[in-house]
Symmetry: C2
Subunit: 255 residues, 2 copies
Amino acid sequence: MPAEPASAARPVAAARRLRLRADRARQLADLLRHQILAGGFPGGILPLEDAIAADYRASRNTVRQALDLLRGEQLVERQPGVGTVVVCEKYPHGLDRLQGLAETLREHGRVTNEVRTVGPVSAPGPVAHRLGLPEHSDVLCVERLRRLNGLPLSLDLSYLPMDIGGRLLGCDLENTDVFRLLEQLTGGPLGHAEITLEAVNADAHSAAVLQAPRGAAVLMLERLTCLPDGRPVDLEFIRFRGDRITMGGVLHRSL
Amino acid sequence: MPAEPASAARPVAAARRLRLRADRARQLADLLRHQILAGGFPGGILPLEDAIAADYRASRNTVRQALDLLRGEQLVERQPGVGTVVVCEKYPHGLDRLQGLAETLREHGRVTNEVRTVGPVSAPGPVAHRLGLPEHSDVLCVERLRRLNGLPLSLDLSYLPMDIGGRLLGCDLENTDVFRLLEQLTGGPLGHAEITLEAVNADAHSAAVLQAPRGAAVLMLERLTCLPDGRPVDLEFIRFRGDRITMGGVLHRSL
């Protein structure tokens, strides 16, 4: 193969350098993100760019680009006279056991629920099927916008069989997890849940309800919760604001 | 409180109807999404709008709006003369035990890895700390773009201690999960991993590498994997394309 003329090679080498810097900036942003979320910067203030550059053996350009990425994620902000400060409020939701929102965020503040919809609907086929009910049985449909210390965290839609769900109608849905109410109503602990997690871009309407930008990344949780005897009692579709929730747990290699 | 004049009440009622329709469209989209991902539509073709409207007791406007949402998520497409067809390739990643990508997607095809970076780097403080090493120890840094049947699925960055990581250098990283290689090298199964999952919008560079639109929702997994004796051996930052991966598992109420 003939050697490339120097005039062509130069832009190729420059493009490669830019690509490598973009890679390094992302890699650095990943490390800083972890420290931000773990509360690893005292007072929520990041070190000066020079200090980050020295700590991470990175160039100042790489550091600037990494901080740009974190600003793009709304994790940090540049404040004149102060520097780069942490501005996110991201809360850890447990993934190790089945927990309601107020329960898992107990240490972080108060969860309140704005009940947007509550009432019986005729169950569409897939809802009836997953809840083990005849098609078009009535089910209770509850939609809540959930807040932590007043900040919107998630939009939750639940379908419950009427024999159990109907008894929720008189309960304090605004201040209590449905899981806790179900346990009070059934007189014992819940059993297990099948869950699916996805990342999706928020549609315009969900974004507006969650007070997030259109297209914002949303952590979408589908959860089918069952009683200890295996009877499904709560089918949920939950949209968490991606900038406010992380899910954490421990996985084992052998079961 | 004085009654609102009819002229003001009318737009309010209209806005309320639009809001309710938007809510119902999202609720219907959630149900259809589940069926799409579960392979519940024979031949990957959705029923006609009228049939969906009848099945779900929804208006045609609501059905259209729900299908618009699913098109926005790139799950379905309208094909002239055929109807609404499923176009997504979304694969289930297990969340019940610690598994590598090729392992968890075994039934879905062949995972190949494009090794973008591999070599020793001086460990920044937080990496050294999490791997239990002195600051600025050398660690192996491996970045791979991972594909299933040729489609980009994830961008994985791993840091490993050199005593173990160094031995990966001669291994077939392009066709083998790092977990499998680690088990071959250490002569036994891995122990456990601490994981964190988040939904983030892809920055421009990650999006380009993953061949996804800028801002696309990404499922971000941080995973610190340990040997059975608790020694951390693999710190990973993994960006999954949100439109190609779901994470699924079972949670129990009591531990």
